[in-house]
Amino acid sequence: MSVQMWTYVFVFLSFSLYIGIAIWSRAGSTKEFYVAGGGVHPLANGMATAADWMSAASFIGMAGLISFLGRDGTFYLMGWTGGYVLLALLLAPYLRKFGKFTVPDFIGDRYYSQTARLAAVFCAIVISFIYVCRQMQGAGVVFSRFLEVDVTTGVLIGMAIVFFYAVLGGMKGITYTQVAQYCVLIFAFMVPAIFISIMMTGQVIPQIGFGSELIDGSGYLLDRLDGLSQELGFATYTEGQRSTQDVFFITAALMFGTAGLPHVIIRFFTVPNVRDARRSAGYAIVFIAILYTTAPAVAAFARVNLINSVNNAEYTAMPDWFTKWETTSLITFEDKNNDGKIRYDGNADLNELTVSADIMVMANPEIAGLPNWVVALVTAGALAAALSTAAGLLLVISTSVAHDMLKRTFMPSINEKQELLAARLSIFIAVLIAGYVGMNPPAYVAQVVAFAFGLAAASFFPAIVLGIFQKKMNKQGAISGMAVGFVFTAAYIIYFKLINPAANIAENWFFGISPEGIGTLGTILNVGCAYVVASFTSDPPDDVQELVEVIRLPGEA
C-alpha cells in the first residue's frame, strides 16, 4: 500500500475511535462538563495530561528545533518537563483540595474579589487562545501535506472532530479521547524513533542509541554529528551558542509557564482526591518523559541523516520526499553557484538549502527510508497531538466564559441547564474562531506561541503559589502583581516580536534576556510587586485565611 493509503487508514481509524469515545462519554451536568465529574482514575488522568500537554509543537516542532539548536535546545526539554515538578509540589494537590472548577475560580475565591476573577479570566483566555491557534495551524499543515487536501479543508475536518467530542462531552469527552490520543501519539512517535535508532546504531532504545557508536563505523553518533557540523561550518552540536543567562531565563520561564498554564492545571481537578492529584502528576511526567527523552535522540539522528542525504547531492537526483516538501515551501533550494548540487553550509552566503524545523520529525521516517506504514503513522500521531491540546484549550476558554464570567459574575441567576448550554455554545464559538485563525494564520502565530508560557509564568504561577503559601497575601497584592507581570511581559514580547523585530538582538535585551525568557523577569516583578503592595494594605479577611488553612491540610474537600 502507498503512504497515502496508509495515511487514510490510520487517520480514519483514529478519528472513528475519538468519535466513538465522544458518543460514549456525553456530559449530563456542569460538573461532568467542567471536571469530568471528578472521578477520573489518576493513571488515565496522567495520560490525558500528557496528551493535553504535548501539542503539535512538542510532537512536530520540538525535535526539529533541537536538531537545529543543538545543546541550546535543552531549554525546551528541561523547561517543559521541570515545570511538572513545580506543578506537583506547589500547585496540583492544593488546587484539587480547593475543589472548584477553574483557575479563575481559585483566584476569585482566594483573593475575595470579582476584579481578580475577571483578571484571571482575561489571562486564561488570552493564553489559551494564542496557544490554540497554533494547534489548528499545525493540524492544517499536516492535512495539507499528507492527505493532499488544501489547508482549509484540513482545518475544517479537524474542527469538526474537536467540535464533536468537546461540545458533546466537555471535559469528560475530552479526557477519554485524550487517553486514546496519547496512545496514538506516543506509538507514532516511538515506532519511527526505534526503527531509526536500530538502523543507525543497532540499539533498540533510542535513549541508548543517542550515546552509541554508529553502525557504519564512523564513531559515536554525537562525535560524528559534531564533526559534520564543524566541516560544514555549523556550530558544534553539543556546545552551547546562546549566553548562559539567556538559557537560564528561558528554561525558568518555560518551567513557571508550564506550571501556570490553565489547561494543564484544570486536569488535576478531575481526579477523586488530593492523593490522586499527586499520583497523577507523577504518571503524567512519566508519560511525557517517554517522548521528551526520545526527542533529543531523534533530533540528533535526523540531523545526521539530513546532512548525509542532502549535502553535495545532485538536485535532480533527490528522492520523492524532498520534492513533496518543496511544494509546501518547507524545504527550499536555491542553486547559488549553478552546479546542480545542493550545498548545505553554515555560512548563509554559500548555503543553498533551507529546511524548516517543522518537518524534521515528519520527514524523518521518509529520509531514513522507513516502510510506508511508519511514515503514515506519523500523520495520525501529529493530528492526535494537535487535536488533544486544542480540545483542552478550548475547554478552558469555554469554562472561563460560561462559569467564571456568566455564572459567577454577570448572570448568577442562571440554572445548571442554562450554564451547560452556555458552556457548549462558548466552546462552539471558540472552535469557529480558532478554525478561522487556523485557515488564515497571521504571520506571527508561530512566533508568539512560546510566549503563552511567558504570560502564564508572569501572571498565574505567582498568584496561585502565593495564594497557597502566603496566608497573608491579599487581593491588592495579587491583582497588582498579576497586572504588572502580565503587562511587562506582554509589552516586552510585543515590542521585540511585532513592533520592532529588527531590534530583537542580544545587545538590546534587558540583561541579555531574549523575549522567550522574559517571563522569568515578569514572574519576579509579579512577586516583588505583590509583596510590596500587600505590606501597605490590609490583611485578607478571616474566612479567606481559614480557606488557606483548609486547602493546606489533607483529607477530602
Binding site: 535546545g73 518537563t81 553539543t238 488553612e549 491540610l553
Partner: protein, 97 residues
C-alpha cells in the same frame, strides 16, 4: 508520632518541598546550565556528562523527585490522620505561615 498536629504537618510538608526543590534546582539549572561546560569534561559512552544531564538525565531526576514526593506525602498524611482535623485547627493558627 501521636502528637502530630496540623502545624507540624505543614512544617514537615514545607521542609520536604524545599529539599526536593533544592535538588530540582541543582540538577536542572546547576548541572544542565550553569556547570554544563565543566561537566562536559567528563564522558561516558558517547555522551559528555553535562550534555547528557541537560538533555536526558535531568528529566529522569524530575520523575524521581515527583515519586519521592508522592511517597513521602502519603506517609505524612497517614501519620497525620491519626489525629482528627478539628482538634488541630487552633494549633495551625499563627503557626501556619
Amino acid at each position: 508520632m501521636s502528637d502530630y498536629s496540623a502545624s507540624a504537618y505543614w512544617k514537615a510538608n514545607i521542609k520536604l518541598v524545599l529539599s526536593l526543590l533544592c535538588i530540582w534546582f541543582l540538577i536542572s539549572f546547576g548541572g544542565g546550565i550553569l556547570f554544563v561546560d565543566f561537566l562536559d569534561e567528563f564522558r561516558f559512552g558517547g555522551f559528555k556528562l553535562g550534555f547528557w544531564i541537560a538533555q536526558q538525565g535531568s528529566i529522569f531526576v524530575f520523575i524521581a523527585l515527583i515519586f519521592v514526593y508522592v511517597w513521602a506525602m502519603d506517609k505524612l498524611d497517614s501519620q497525620y490522620k491519626k489525629r482528627p482535623l478539628k482538634d488541630d485547627r487552633e494549633n495551625l493558627k499563627g503557626g501556619g505561615q
